[in-house]
């Protein structure tokens, strides 16, 4: 009988308590010294060839007979009430099949604060109507024929302004999410500051960053009778299934969601999108399949962002560096709607041993595009502020930044009091410092002044990383053994581009003793797959991998049972490797298919589930990054010369896909530190750089040498793989390390991201 327990899981800085059915126990992680054949080995992507030859079908590539195309009419105003919509002219345009708006669709509640088609629009880009037509161009033409009469409402773009009593309100109960700040306290913050010998206090600002996934958001919806199939670019097929069923009043078994290949999500595809529901409604209305894929402009308006923040941070310490108090007050721009506010206080609460901590977060509605999760939401922003101020504190105390961090090192999770299952941060500092040449490269602050007249200044900086990343139950997998000695792994996760399929194939191959090319991974389909959680929070491998391993293990046990009987050898004498049975009792190895072929279509089905998380320890990931920059004092140009990273995410399963995550995270962090910023026109609320020309992502020429190492030590308490997530950790400390390096170069700190030429020239007194 399944056992139901209550478990705690940390997800993106918040601890969730939920009921889980306990299964999947009993398999312990591979011992650190046992040689493994696939796990830990560089493995090229099992679906690489179809991805790079254009054969992989992304959502955009789905073409169905009779398919129609949808284009969404978006609000040109930051805040307005729709007085009337006249769609008559649009409907009369040849090729237009339907026009959807609040007038002819059910009032479907969306994102808590709004409706699928709301009569109030709250940002430039908010959905007003949708044209379904024979092709995209006709749909686009028709959008211009829809006549909307708006009653313009006052708007507010700035979160600090939005908190003022006189500010225009987005909602009747005001602009503050939840009506009050999210407060966390431990100890006595005032007493902590009273105990301090030194107090540093600063205000940090971070910009709004846009995801710009390579693959845009989009859906194709098909009705067959009362059953709905949706191809959706999503990080959570089961979440989309649940959402569609709930909003459209369908039973779960009538909704199928498919995502086979994906070109990135970074958190912006965690949740059901309006376009998906609109496509389903449009398909119902027209009786034909409907595709809605957003364009780059829409991507940059309406699919989420990393919200801008203002963070007041105050740290108190004794002369020897011991922290006595840490306080962070954050104002976060929710935009118009908010499902899941990021937790900016996470690093302040967790990074250091400190008994007096207070974090306070105001998540504020403004008339701008809504936030969403974005690769380590909150922690990238919070780490920039806390780790910048730690450097100022180190300077104030005349300590080395690493020494100060080690002084406040903790083996105990400060928020729960539980010890960490493993924590390799000390080693990450040491190895990183050595790899980087930290002690040689660092110019002591005192020597900085004398260099102010050099044309180029060089500086180094570092920062630390903490994040969750252990995943959670429930997640399920099946492993089927086919008569020809191949295996099919079935689960309901999705590969968002990180290499999930490859990693799952390695795990299954390892456990089964089959060659990796004999393993097929079937994921991304709710109808055929089994539940797996969303691919977010760096938890896919740690959630789904253990279930796959249990399923493979169970299949292997059955296979051994059968083989022992067929081969007439003692079961205990049998091993499987390379798809061959070996036993001292056998004259020569026997291939798996040789055994199975005698059994006709007998099929082995192994079932696996993710085991519960441990209750007595905290499972986290850690790391440290080091940056070297040069700054041209004449032109303000900052160049990142190199980044060194050392991270601890438990056991490494695939060094190749892992390196993509580490490098990708650092590159995205570098873009955030130096270039990326959504620009909204202050007078109209219109996003001015909703394109890849003016939203500046780093190019190949901006990417420095990146050197990284992993601690690569299994975390035996985390799960049966000993592996933890690595998707988000590498982006967390990059901006902070670069900002610290720039401060080290200039001798002056820049408290606001991105660090542009303008800010450098201002800091140098040249503007």
């Amino acid at each position: 009988m399944p056992k139901v327990i209550k478990t705690k899981t940390e997800f993106e800085g918040r601890v969730l308590e939920e009921y889980v059915v306990v299964e999947g126990e009993g398999l312990s992680a591979w011992d650190a010294h046992v040689p493994l054949q696939f796990v830990g080995k560089k493995t090229t992507r099992v679906d690489g060839p179809e991805r790079v030859t254009g054969k992989a079908l992304y959502t955009f590539d789905v073409q169905l007979p009779g398919m129609l195309y949808g284009k969404i009419l978006r609000s040109p105003h930051p805040h307005a009430r729709i007085k009337s919509i006249n769609t008559q002219r649009a409907e009369q345009l040849p090729g237009v099949r339907a026009v959807l708006s609040h007038q002819n669709t059910p009032k479907i509640s969306f994102r808590r604060q709004t409706f699928l088609f709301d009569e109030v629009v709250r940002y430039v880009g908010d959905e007003v109507a949708c044209v379904i037509a024979d092709d995209e161009e006709i749909a686009q033409d028709a959008l211009e024929l829809i006549e909307v009469e708006y009653e313009i409402l006052p708007f507010v773009l700035d979160p600090e302004e939005a908190l003022q009593p006189w500010a225009p309100r987005l909602y009747p109960d005001g602009n503050l999410l939840g009506g009050q700040p999210e407060l966390y306290q431990r100890g006595d913050i005032e007493r902590g500051f009273a105990q301090a010998d030194v107090i540093v206090e600063r205000t940090f600002r971070t910009q709004c960053a846009l995801h710009n996934c390579m693959e845009p958001h989009g859906s194709v919806a098909l009705w067959e009778g009362d059953s709905l199939t949706v191809w959706d670019s999503t990080q959570h097929i089961f979440g989309v299934r649940e959402g569609l069923a709930r909003l459209l009043g369908l039973p779960l078994h009538r909704v199928r969601v498919i995502k086979k290949y994906m070109g990135g999500g970074f958190g912006s595809k965690n949740n059901l999108g309006k376009y998906t529901v609109i496509a389903a409604l449009g398909a119902k209305m027209t009786g034909r399949p409907v595709k809605i894929v957003l364009d780059r402009h829409e991507e940059n308006l309406a699919t989420g962002n990393r919200p801008a923040s203002v963070q007041h941070v105050k740290i108190g310490a004794r002369r020897d560096g011991t922290l006595t108090a840490l306080e962070l007050k954050a104002i976060v721009t929710a935009g118009a709607y908010c499902l899941w506010p990021p937790s900016l206080g996470g690093p302040a609460r967790e990074l250091y041993a400190c008994s007096n901590v207070k974090t306070e977060q105001y998540t504020v509605f403004t008339n701008t595009g809504p936030l969403s999760a974005f690769r380590a939401p909150g922690y990238v922003e919070g780490t920039f502020a806390v780790e910048s101020l730690m450097d100022e504190l180190a300077q104030e105390l005349q300590m080395d930044p690493i020494e100060l961090r080690l002084k406040n090192y903790t083996e105990i999770d400060q928020t729960t009091g539980r010890p960490y299952s493993t924590k390799g941060l000390r080693e990450a500092y040491e190895r990183g410092a050595k790899l980087f040449g930290w002690h040689e490269a660092r110019t002591p602050p005192a020597a900085l002044l004398s260099r102010r007249h050099a044309p180029k200044l060089r500086g180094v900086g570092m920062a630390s990383q903490i994040w969750s990343g252990n995943g959670m139950p429930p997640a399920y997998a099946l492993v089927k053994l086919n008569p020809d000695g191949t295996a099919t792994v079935i689960t309901g996760t999705q590969d968002i581009g990180t290499g999930t399929k490859t990693v799952l194939a390695q795990i299954a191959a390892e456990e089964l003793g089959f060659p990796i090319e004999k393993i097929a991974i079937e994921i991304g389909d709710t109808q055929l797959g089994l539940y797996a959680p969303l691919s977010a929070g760096s938890m896919t491998v740690a959630s789904v991998g253990p279930a796959v391993r249990v399923a493979a293990h169970e299949a292997r046990q059955q296979l051994l049972d059968v083989a022992a009987q067929v081969l007439e050898v003692p079961r205990d004498s049998l091993t499987i490797a390379d798809g061959l049975f070996r036993s001292p009792a056998l004259q020569k190895p026997v291939a798996v298919h040789e055994v199975l072929k005698n059994l006709e279509n007998f099929m082995i089905i192994g079932r696996g589930a993710r085991e519960p998380n441990p209750e007595d320890v905290a499972v986290n990931t850690f790391g440290a990054q080091f940056a070297e920059v040069t700054v041209d004092v004449e032109t303000g140009e900052v160049k990142v010369e190199r980044i060194v990273a050392v991270h601890d995410s438990g056991r490494v399963i695939n060094p190749l896909t892992l390196s993509s995550q580490i490098e990708g995270g650092i590159i995205q962090g570098l873009g955030y530190a130096l270039y990326e910023q959504r620009v909204v026109d202050r007078n109209t609320g219109i996003v001015l750089n909703d394109n890849l020309e003016n939203y500046k992502l780093p190019t190949a020429l901006d990417i420095p040498e990146i050197v990284f190492e992993m601690i690569d030590r299994p975390d035996f308490r985390a799960n049966n793989l000993g592996a933890k997530g690595v998707g988000e950790p590498p982006i967390i400390p990059t901006a902070a390390a670069i900002a610290n390096a720039v401060a080290n170069a200039l001798g002056v700190r820049i408290y606001e991201l991105p660090i542009t030429r303008e800010k450098i020239l201002k800091a140098l007194g040249k503007v």
Partner: protein
């Protein structure tokens, strides 16, 4: 974009005749026009394809006549051409700094010189700005970090071309043909500050085309440099750029031409800086004064004062690098 008819131009004369028709636009590389069409800033009914005019693709050079570049020569061809690299290096540098390899393979010289501004208000469908026939410049009290610091009036957009400052520094002329026109003017004269009745950045009228760019042979001991400050390492229009062409006789500066990009609605010739340099012995102090003169009269907006400092630094660095 809206549908349109695409017509291949059989010859220049026909092209000009076609382009006089209403709602007709010329297309060559398309790297600028397609952006406008996709944003639906313009919706021509007909595009006249100039790429069929194969006689406009040549690069010719003679020591006497100098360099002649057909309007359809691509930026990539300019960037790679050995003689341009050797004798007109400032032009090769400017071409190499523009856009990306993919865009340089498509973009043509004529198109680059005639491109529309990148101002984000101009390029946005929701702003009917003065340059597009509206009644105000939204950048003036809006988001203006990329906008003009010198000589702006009703429009604060900057001219985005990298080639134009380099070619003006090289004293290039252009051959312009049109319905009632076939003549040669200096490239500097092609650019005009947009006015109430002529809201364009060049003096070209309907049906008028640049068909050739001519660059006189380099002066004795002439050297040039093109410096461009961008927000990232590549694929960026200039925040500020500077093209400096100088002739030196020993330490004495015999001639100098300095043209800035990214600072005004037209490529900005810094005549004040030139006259400070010409005839003088080079020194860093002189370069400093020339740099100061380049930004004389600058009127930055709220967010672009950094460009003043940047322009000064680039002029100083460019002059300094040529003299030393």
């Amino acid at each position: 974009m809206r549908s349109f008819e695409h017509v291949n131009a059989p010859d220049i004369k026909t092209a000009i005749a076609l382009l006089r028709e209403p709602a007709t636009e010329a297309i060559a590389g398309g790297t600028d026009l397609l952006g406008e069409l996709k944003a639906r800033l313009r919706s021509p009914r007909r595009l006249v394809n100039l790429k069929t005019l194969s006689n406009l693709r040549e690069i010719r050079y003679s020591p006497k006549a100098g360099l002649r570049l057909g309007a359809l020569v691509t930026l990539a061809e300019i960037e790679r051409h050995p003689i341009i690299r050797e004798r007109f290096s400032i032009l090769a540098q400017a071409a190499a700094s523009a856009a990306t390899p993919q865009l340089r393979n498509m973009g043509t010289l004529g198109g680059n010189l005639c491109q529309k501004p990148r101002c984000w208000y101009y390029r946005h469908r929701l702003f009917h700005c003065w340059l597009k026939g509206g009644d105000r410049c939204f950048a003036e009290d809006g988001e203006n970090k990329y906008h003009a610091i010198l000589g702006a009036d009703r429009c604060h957009a900057v001219h985005p071309s990298d080639l134009a400052p380099a070619l003006i520094a090289l004293e290039a002329t252009v051959r312009v043909v049109g319905p009632d026109l076939d003549g040669e003017i200096s490239l500097a004269e092609l650019y005009t500050k947009p006015t109430e009745s002529h809201r364009r950045m060049t003096m070209l009228g309907p049906g008028e085309l640049i068909i050739e760019v001519r660059v006189p042979p380099p002066k004795k001991n002439a050297r040039g440099v093109y410096l461009k400050a961008m927000e990232r390492g590549s694929w960026s229009f200039a925040l500020v750029s500077v093209a400096v062409q100088m002739s030196l006789e020993g330490k004495r500066i015999a001639d100098a031409r300095i043209v800035l990009g990214g600072v005004s609605t037209i490529p900005w010739r810094a005549k004040g800086s030139e006259s400070i340099l010409i005839g003088q012995e080079f020194s860093m102090e002189l370069a400093e004064r020339a740099a100061e003169a380049a930004i004389a009269g600058a009127q930055p907006l709220r967010d672009n004062a950094y460009k003043v400092s940047l322009a000064k630094s680039l002029v100083k660095e460019a002059v300094g690098s040529l003299a030393s």
